[in-house]
Symmetry: C2
Subunit: 332 residues, 2 copies
């Protein structure tokens, strides 16, 4: 596969839009680009490398000579169409949660477990965005000291809910500014000037699905079947980039300076950690950036063999579109 | 002391303003109210129970027949004037951090350790706002199962930085709305549509002063000299009310249902915890409310004998002004 025919399924969404930009910016070798969406978006035009490409309606016949299909149109579309695409010979890179925990499906962060890509049987899963951001900071430390458990709290941007999340925050800020009443469609509570300790639906154990993804997907990506993760996922009125406050306990004793070296030496992630000079990453620093950033690295004062740190990444880019395109790069 | 002469030092600040409202709303028995501030605010008028009271300049002679002096004008004013007020016979209730760790000074949350109030030698300290909110949720559980350590991340409102924090968020939101450039005065980074993992200055161990207050002040208030607390304090674009995501490990095994009962039975704090119906507290729910609210209570899946929960409280009110007035109520 040297110059593949690539399809993007869900081109009108926030992640689909970011995918087309990532393909162009990274000069991904491409023979043909097909843009797919629901019937109501068919005919819309998007430009790619100076060419205008019309959106086609997604159907069972959409994948006839597609080599790589980047899916980001929600779990139910993936469940229905990803097997069809795979059967017709494409490799699907799926951004939904539909296949992530399927033992037949590799779950890939290219900087962490690229080798698993090649065992795919037509579908490769892209991890949850909060998981990816967290693991980009954690993995360099894990490789040195073996992570056992993490306790984390997230600060998740509204673009994690797609274009409608962005719209809801904008509309609420405007409404408050104009003194009119605040409307809610996407979130269970007002998100403007508020924070909401719920992302995704709740499970029996009191955690949300989103919260459990860090443990479940983290085990698979790190190849660490006993990893434990207690996470509280919180939506905050930030447009883009997720932040995660992490306390990680390791099998052996970690060192703060060494941790900084390891993270800086790892691909796709860097340290911004001179707190006395006000240098630590904030969501604005990683907005529309490829790299994840880590700061506030310190020896944890409660748990043995533990570090606390703060990791930030653009969840639309590294947490979704970029990671998918990087997986595609592993295939060509 | 049945109808004391009360003075408020720092009446023009956000907490000073909240103090005068708390005194009025709680119908605090009062003979005379004196309002004190710096020379530049002298002559300003504030109303209390229908009377207009002019602000007087704070001087060394301000406390001559004052019985209770509520201080909220910053640590350096407290250090200079609280001992003067105490020497002239007033009991100072100080909202700054100046005296909190002084072994001669009781540090009080009235719902938790009211008995310590009476050992005062003229100065009583009001705890840090994040500490108060956290302990309001934690103490009912601590009394039953004895807390050993906590790992927490905060979501702190800009009013924690006083009126200027509120102003900065407002101005930045307006500037972004108008497409003009964002100015910073209070925070080291833009706070509008961003989160900042720094509250207060950094210490040698990589934690901030604010972060260490939960351990230091928590030990004193709970009478638990071995409490450990690893906290990450984060400023969020919320106007009022702090939220804290807490994982607490206990000496004995806690139970989720019992935890809800204990919190509901405790004064000043209630449970809002039906996550399947979207019921959990957000900062807007406690804004300008006396009560702290707790939700997301669940058995922690990483640490033994641990619960994770989410606690929210109005840090200007319960985290500062209300708590100070409640301490004053213990004196009369």
């Amino acid at each position: 596969m040297s110059e593949p025919h690539v399809a993007i399924v869900g081109i009108t969404g926030a992640v689909g839009q970011e995918m087309i930009q990532c393909l162009e910016k990274r000069d991904f070798p491409i023979k043909k680009l097909t843009l797919l969406a629901s019937a109501k978006s068919a005919g819309k035009i998007f430009s790619f490398k100076g060419k205008e490409i019309p959106v086609q309606e997604l159907t069972l016949d959409s994948f006839d000579d597609v080599d790589i299909a980047l899916f980001s149109a929600g779990g139910s579309i993936s469940k229905e169409f990803a097997p069809v695409a795979a059967k017709s010979g494409a490799v699907v890179i799926d951004n939904s949660s539909a296949f992530r925990m399927d033992p037949e499906v590799p779950l890939i962060i290219p900087e962490i477990n690229p080798e698993a890509t090649h065992s795919n049987k037509g579908i490769i899963a892209n991890p949850n965005c909060t998981t990816t951001v967290t693991l980009m900071g954690l993995n360099p430390l894990h490789k040195e000291w073996q992570v056992r458990g993490i306790i984390a709290s997230s600060y998740q941007a509204v673009s994690g809910s797609g274009a409608q999340g962005i719209e809801e925050l904008k509309n609420q800020i405007s409404a408050i500014n104009e003194g009119s009443s605040v409307e809610r469609k996407v979130y269970p509570h007002q998100i403007a000037y508020n924070v909401i300790p719920q992302v995704d639906t709740f499970l029996e154990n009191g955690y949300t699905k989103e919260e459990m993804k860090i443990e479940n997907e983290g085990r698979k990506i790190l190849g660490n079947s006993t990893l434990k993760a207690s996470v509280t996922c919180v939506r905050v009125p930030v447009y883009r980039s997720h932040s995660v406050s992490v306390t990680a306990q390791f099998a052996s004793e970690p060192d703060v300076n060494k941790a900084r070296e390891l993270i800086n030496a790892a691909p796709g992630v860097s340290v911004r950690d001179e707190p006395d000079s006000g240098i630590f990453p904030t969501p604005l620093d990683t907005t529309e950036q490829d790299e994840c950033l880590v700061g506030r690295i310190r020896k944890d004062i409660v748990l043995e063999n533990a570090l606390s740190f703060w990791v930030v990444g653009d969840q639309v880019r590294k947490g979704a579109a970029l990671n998918a395109v990087q997986i595609a790069e592993l295939l060509v």
